[in-house]
Amino acid sequence: MRRWMGVSLSLLPLLFLLYGCTLLQERPLTVNGYWQGGIQGGAEEASRSVQLHLLQNGTDVTGWVKFISGYSFSIWPITSGTFDPEARTLSIEATNPEDQGEVYSFVGTVSRYSMSGEGTYTDGDREEGFTWSVQRGEGYADLNGPWEGEISGGDFEADLQFDLAQTVKRLEGWINVKTESTMVVLTISSGEVDQEKKLVTIIARGTPSPAKEESYTFTGTLLLINGEWKRMLGTCHFSSNETEEDLIWSATKVSKGQEIE
């Protein structure tokens, strides 16, 4: 019995070596997930933000590309995509869903947390080249808590405070619209975050005076900051008994320490 114990003990370093080697084996490289960065040069604008949501199945890649410019954005489905894990190369094409002649092609090299390369844009008639780079972001957008930002349009300009409570995709809470002279607290009557497309839609209502009712419909996209979904921006349709207006807005997630500032 003691001899067997001795043999077993002598095998321990070997087992450790084998197990350790298994542990040290690198996880296979995939492109699955959310990526965000920019493209430089090319069509119309010198630089614009780009988000990718990639779904890899073997060497096939599907998903979408979101182009963000100012406060507007558009999502183009990936119509063809391949990833070669050996060569670490990615090649995708995204087509404008409203104009099948407009196509962005991206070709680049992939590392675990970033990708970069070159691409072309065509609208059917002309073709332009650009360079691109993106960094990996987290999969789940946690919008819980306070956000601060701005809303504006025409002569109107105000500070925004969101305070969100999120249950997976449902958003509740309130929104504070503060100008130099007024503060209107809106209650969120309906709010949703699209976790797949990383979009938000919030309808909020308030009554700044007994005779006046206001409604704000916020639609926007989430943006990654240092890998986390901590910024959102978009457009807002405002309506009251007296007027209707289209506004732009943005907000950034606020974080504080335990010590009161």
Binding site: N144, V185, G257, E261
Partner: protein, 219 residues
């Protein structure tokens, strides 16, 4: 007479149930907690994830705002009267605390149920009972306090220094009952004595020297 009492009790129960089901879901409907008071509430991920509270503080003082919850993950946020975030405590447990100096006026507190299920909680806003200074690692200050059997006491010790690390002790005249030696800027002891009488709170420096504030709340 009994019928009147029953109606009154029914109204009280209804009001309590209404509050628990989400009457204080926004800052406008915030419930009031008094300074040095400890209130009770319940948050549920489904249906009532948020409770808002407000507290009036007469003038400049040091405070702790604590959440003593049961199970899962609760978060706590502390806001100015204009709803600017001043501090947050969003750890992975059900208990949270923020602390520091305030200038006075109305302040808002949000309690948020982060994880699934429900959590009953106590929410307390305490102003400092005493402040002191410890002159290095050998220094210790001792305070005597009368504690009643069956009452729950929350004792907090705070500081604002990165180099000063005071520890908190609760003792009888014979032995130490509880201690807190957190390396952060907050120490806490929660204790319910089984015997009424005088107890001793000791504040000692584990390292460094500096100002500290001591808070005692009970319910």
């Amino acid at each position: 007479m009994y019928r009147l009492l029953a109606v009154v009790l029914l109204c009280v129960a209804w009001a309590a149930a209404a509050l628990a089901s989400g009457e204080n879901d926004t800052p406008i409907g915030a419930s009031t907690v008094s300074l040095n008071g400890i209130a009770r509430g319940t948050v549920c991920k489904e249906g009532d994830p948020v409770d808002w509270w407000k507290v009036y503080i007469e003038g400049p003082t040091e405070i702790v705002v604590f959440l003593d919850g049961v199970g899962g993950d609760n978060d706590q946020y502390f806001y100015s009267h204009s709803l600017d975030l001043l501090a947050q405590s969003t750890g992975s447990g059900a208990d949270e605390v923020v602390f520091g100096g305030v200038s006075g006026g109305w302040y808002y507190i949000k309690v948020y149920r982060y994880s699934s299920g429900c959590s009953d909680y106590y929410l307390g806003v305490l102003s400092a009972d005493v402040s002191g200074y410890l002159w290095g690692a050998e220094d210790i200050d001792i305070y005597r306090i009368y504690m009643s059997a069956g009452t729950t006491y929350w004792i907090f010790l705070t500081d604002h220094s990165a180099t000063f690390n005071p520890d908190l002790f609760l003792a009888t005249s014979e032995h130490v009952i509880a201690r807190s030696n957190s390396t952060g800027n907050v120490d806490v002891i929660k204790y319910m004595p089984s015997v009424s009488g005088y107890y001793y709170i000791a504040v000692g420096s584990a390292s460094g020297s500096g100002d500290y504030w001591l808070f005692v709340g009970s319910r």
